[in-house]
Amino acid sequence: MFGDVGATRGDARALDGGVAGGSKGGLNYRVHGGEGEAARLRLVDVSKSFGAVRALRGVSMEVRAGEVHALLGENGAGKSTLIRVMAGVHAPDSGRIEVGGRVHGRLTVGTARAEGIAVVHQQPAMFPDLTVAENLALRLEQAGPWSRWRRDRHERRARECLARLGSGIDPGRLAGSLSMPEQQLVELAVAVGAGARWIVLDEPTASLTRREQERLYPVIDGLRGDGAGIVHITHRLEEVGRLADRVTVLRDGESVGTFGGRELDEGGLIERIAGRRVEGMHPGGGATRGPLRLDVHGVARAASGLKPCSLRVHAGEVVGLAGLVGSGRTELARVIFGLDRPDSGRVWVDGSEVTGTCMAMERGMAMVPEDRRRHGVVPEMGVAANLAMASHGRLFPWGWLRPGRERRVASEWTGRLGIKAGPAGSLVGTLSGGNQQKVALGRWLATRPKVLVLDEPTQGVDVGAKAEIHRWIREWTGEGMAVLMITSDLPELLGMSDRVVVMREGRVAGELPGGCSASEVMGMAMGTAGSEVGG
């Protein structure tokens, strides 16, 4: 939410190559007796800014060979930036990186690879049409174009690498047929095959079921036993106790500290992760709860990983939908708005059932999606066309486009939302992020919705526009609108919500009243013992 905004998508891709090539031949790690400079990966005083956003501020961290070092922090605390510095994708503004006693001012992808640093990503980049063995070979071998492709040798090597992880995946299978945990094992096998001594696991368990996670733990234990230094990024606190020798917590780009694996209990960890936050900087609630507007009952969808979810939003109420990335918030919103068909469960708006997006819109529901550029606005079209787009049925009966009406709607909403559109007819793609978000909002407000679903309404929006959007949300609920707001921005969530519904692993983990604290929300989202209310 704050820190990683500047990190581009291209960087994330470059990171996937972290372990490609650089075949080191042997499979055995040298264990350096545990102590000494040779067995240390150290980040010293590393800072990194993206424009005005300071993603990392003097972070120091040390990983030892033969340990699992958990890295914790909220979304946007700087974990991703830190990994990218380790993988050589980002050059730090200041600070240094010491690997086995060698000091680097910065790493490149190549030097990181040569130092044996490998990153295993949550979403592995594979060749789905090729076999597992071929996937491994392409990542590990630097073959000449006219060299023979030794299928048997590749299969043998793949089988060896996978066997070291205790996996019996058939190297002849197509990568596209692998399940998510199997793909991650193959990705780990690439790291093992490349002889990586420092392995960064970026939320490897986030997309796995509990049983699949259980199968991954012994693999990580085994790598540690072989003397690899493992950085394990996770949101699951129970994994810290299960796996980690030490823990480093990041908050707002700063290291809160490094602790022993069992030094802190879950409550202590959450306190460090969430920290003490300034609250009450948002227009207070105080809204009177009106009649029931949105009633979601037992909605489930296996393809999106949604277990049966229920929630209610009343007129005049802002319900915050909280949860970690991947907990199913956006997926639930999509089902509520009818973009995805649920396997079971029903959705009512004002007492009448809705199925499908068209009916949802007719009944007065509107949804402002998260990915503005892909789903929220049409960048190649003008402001007026964008604003009128969701209201075509009302404005243009029988599909007869009438530019006059379109302009009237546009001028009403550009005025009300203060959209700075530049010269008339300028394309939405040329506007600033904040103004684009206002256009996306305005399009749906122009439909005069009774139920508004907002997915990250202020992501990538500057502070001024953010405050304005918050003020409007309050204004609309005052007029009787029901708002369901997904946000990863904790202060926004706590400040705006009359109630907070927390999701975890595809189900509703529980509900908190307005005015709850950040650590209560984080605790429920991460699944601390005792906070489960069912769902």
Binding site: F127, D129, S147, R148, W149, S177
Partner: protein
């Protein structure tokens, strides 16, 4: 049965078609007409194989028909100028390779979409040839036809060259690093770049392959008649894409094997003659082609549904 794969199904369909024909119209398998028919198919087969390589790399080359036309005229003019037949054939292949390299440079070097680039070169070569030749055929000396060999031997040579080229391409795709790179780039271009595959060379190279195969097709066509028709090769690109799709080449790249292309091509090519031998009106030929293509696409969609993005 499930391990049969896409190519397997096409092969089975082909065998069944041939079995039916053998049962009801054994005359289809008389050696001399069959031999002639095979030789006449070879130019189209090698073109289809070349296009399939480009498709595996997640691109398309629709200029092959025009490239074949140009290469044929160039090769024919070399022979008409008094050089031996093999020199003319070599000239045709080189001309095709050059035209393919041009396509490859536009697509890989300038990062333009291959459909646009090859559409442009398709029109440019075709219209350029029409303007240059004014529709006049190139007349070849008698010694050039079948390379001066007796017809049966000449046909045998053409068939061997065509099948050999396809088999060679198939071996390269499966057994050499660069061949696997083609499949890898087609499967996931981003991951390919990150794995250190020289992306531009691989993509551009596939166009050189398809251009060369179009040139080879022209060369194999050249020796079959005493005249070179500058209009030959028209609509060949569509037939080539159809054969590749029926043969299990994924339009989304990454998957496809030469034996599948061979089976797909033969299946489509056999429909027409088979109908004639079975006494059915040949008008149905193209309609059946359409049905076969749709069936193949439907099968591919079902097989690939799991990893559809």
């Amino acid at each position: 049965m499930r391990r049969l794969g896409r190519e397997g199904w096409v092969g089975m369909a082909l065998v069944m078609l041939l079995a039916c024909v053998g049962l009801w119209a054994p005359a289809f398998f008389e050696p001399q007409p069959l031999w002639t028919r095979l030789a006449s198919w070879m130019p189209r087969l090698v073109v289809a194989a070349g296009v399939a390589v480009v498709m595996v790399a997640r691109h398309i080359d629709i200029s092959v028909g025009s490239v074949l036309g140009v290469s044929g005229v160039v090769g024919g003019m070399v022979i008409a100028a008094g050089l031996p037949a093999w020199a003319g054939m070599a000239a045709a292949v080189s001309c095709g390779a050059l035209a393919g390299a041009l396509n490859g440079w536009w697509v890989a070097g300038l990062r333009l979409p291959s459909i646009v680039v090859t559409l442009a070169t398709m029109v440019a070569w075709r219209e350029g040839l029409r303007w240059g030749r004014q529709g006049v055929f190139v007349n070849l000396p008698d010694t050039a036809v079948w390379m001066g060999l007796p017809m049966v031997a000449g046909q045998g040579l053409v068939i061997a060259a065509g099948l050999g080229a396809v088999a060679g391409l198939g071996w390269w795709m499966r057994n050499m690093a660069s061949g696997r790179w083609v499949a890898a780039m087609g499967s996931n271009p981003e991951a390919g770049r990150l794995a250190g595959i020289p992306a531009g060379w691989v993509t551009g190279g596939t166009f050189v392959v398809s251009g060369s195969m179009a040139g080879l097709g022209a060369a194999l066509l050249l020796v079959q008649s005493p005249q070179v028709d500058p209009a030959s090769g028209r609509l060949l690109e569509l037939e080539a894409v159809a054969a590749a799709v029926v043969g299990g080449v994924s339009i989304r790249g990454g998957a496809g094997r030469m034996r599948g292309v061979l089976a797909g091509f033969l299946l489509l090519a056999c429909v027409g003659p088979a109908l004639t031998y079975l006494g059915v009106k040949a008008y149905w030929d193209k309609a059946i082609h359409g049905v076969v293509i749709l069936a193949a696409a439907a099968m591919a969609a079902r097989a690939g549904g799991k990893q559809a993005t």
